[in-house]
Subunit: 323 residues, 2 copies
């Protein structure tokens, strides 16, 4: 069944640039632009919702007005902000920006891994003090990385880390020993049993009921001295207070592109710890990322109008696109 | 011809740790330990000189005392501090630490390239100010790198940069289009003609009469706006004053592991430029590097005693081991 000129609700926010490809969307659909405040007014009669303000959780409140909704596309990899029970049990299709962030985030993780092992931040701190202090750094090849999350981003990360010689395993829902990207995938529900000997722990899992807080105080304690945590998933995957303590003690260090409350509040101790390298949720945002996201939606929209399936569906119970 | 128990002069300096494998050397040779001041007293009758204080240029002064010298091993990749005309025209064999630094330095270069494109230093500077400022970074795959120097370190660097998707060429003495690591090698004597479109310029050439000052003001001006220079070779490859100006203007940035005068003098403007990431000549010095250097010499010494060739000779006219 094809769909004649559908109505697309574009959920955006003040200060967010519009989709670059919006003219193309307007050529094949009626577009109602709204923000969280006006979402309930925009939804009646609309078949499609484009969640362009990816941090918005406004749909749950406006759900009563979604009388014709068939498909929601979220212009992000993680859909944790969107999902709620009525949506889960509905027949509304949810898609995400699958693929767009895979290699950009993998590159970002590699940058963090290399910066850690080559002590670039320490060197820069010494440089700012005008200090020339020779130190020994670490050979990266042969270091052991565990990538928690075996979706597209985790796979791209594993491939890139392997390309420079790291010894990589994955942690996911389904254990196996013959994964093409990870080789071994250990059970992410028993993460603490697999952290001994890990040099770089990369958190890239989606935030779901099963993954929230998966890296808790016990798991952090199971990491060896000097281990390095990279979080490019969601802040809530980690017990942030426990991690802060481990970094403050000097036992662990971390690159955190995501934190529990974003932006990280003024005065949070993470801001001032030498071993906590905070970045503002930007790991996947390479030049042109908004264009890519916009073009991805337009292509999906064309497929939908032609009666096809617009990209793989998010498993609304699991909270991610299930391989 | 085998050599019965030779005499090895070990040229070291105060504050430099001795070779870790020195006991093994003493098992098969007589060792005379000296510093620059006592080198002339140590040399008479000795067949072998191990230059362990790799920044020493003391041999030229003490050359008159080298009445039995057959072989000099320098525990470094670069031999520019050692060479002088009388040594060049002599029959004394010179070997270096070929291979030891290849992958460590390649990894360091990759770390600098990734840190640049992912803006890690800027993020850390903002972090120190408690500022959460989202920015867009650069996709690394597809970026263009030119590696100046096609010896072992340059080759390892090219392989690693290619492994993460950069578009890599080399610059060397012999141009070609079918190099296994570089694909295309352009003429390093005409460097300025090959710098348009270069995102990352990696200087890893040995310092010789032909390479001194090869990256001058004209060549720097030929680099596109925003280009990034990584120098892990020798400071004297680059016109440091011209580079300082380009960085001060914000047009170029650099990771400089080597500079003309080391340590970089207090008050040098490079210390305080945001785009000049100075490190203290440490790119190849991974944990265990001194052990590796020491074991390499011991292995070469065994070969020499057995009448073999202790590693590939440095071409004393060219100033490096010629492929």
């Amino acid at each position: 069944m094809t769909h004649a000129r559908p109505t697309v609700v574009l959920l955006t926010a003040e200060g967010v640039d519009p989709p670059t490809d919006l003219d193309a969307v307007r050529g094949i659909a009626d577009v109602r632009e709204c923000t969280a405040d006006t979402l309930a007014e925009a939804l009646p009669g609309a078949e499609i919702l484009l969640v362009w303000d990816i941090f918005s959780g406004a749909l749950a409140e406006a759900w009563h007005a979604a009388d014709s909704l068939r498909w929601i596309h979220v212009a992000a990899a993680g859909v944790d902000k969107l999902l709620f029970d009525d949506l889960r049990t509905s027949t509304v299709l949810v898609t995400n920006a699958r693929g767009v962030f895979d290699v950009p985030i993998a590159e970002y993780v590699l940058a963090c891994v290399m910066a850690h092992d080559k002590q670039l931040h320490r060197t820069e701190a010494l440089r700012l003090q005008g200090r020339w202090e020779h130190r020994e750094t670490t050979r990266v090849a042969g270091r052991r990385a565990l990538v928690v999350g075996t979706g597209g981003i985790g796979r791209a990360t594993a491939r890139l880390l392997r390309a420079v010689g790291l010894d990589v395993r994955g942690a996911g829902r389904r254990t196996r020993d013959d994964d093409e990207d990870f080789g071994t995938v250990v059970d992410s529900a028993r993460l603490g049993e697999h952290l001994g000997g890990v040099d770089h722990l990369v958190m890239v899992a989606p935030l779901t009921g099963a993954t929230r807080g998966m890296l808790g105080a016990d798991e952090l304690a199971a990491l060896p001295d000097g281990a390095h945590v990279v979080n490019v998933g969601r802040g809530q995957l980690v017990d942030q207070q426990a991690l802060t303590s481990e970094i403050a003690s000097g036992r662990l260090s971390a690159h955190l592109d995501v934190v529990v409350v974003e932006p990280l509040p003024d005065g949070d101790p993470l801001w001032s710890l030498e071993g906590a390298h905070i970045s503002p949720h930007m790991s996947g945002d390479v030049v042109g990322w908004r264009d890519t996201l916009s073009e991805q939606f337009t292509a999906h929209l064309r497929t939908w109008i032609d009666g096809g399936e617009p990209g793989p569906a998010v498993d609304k119970d699991r909270g991610y696109v299930s391989g």
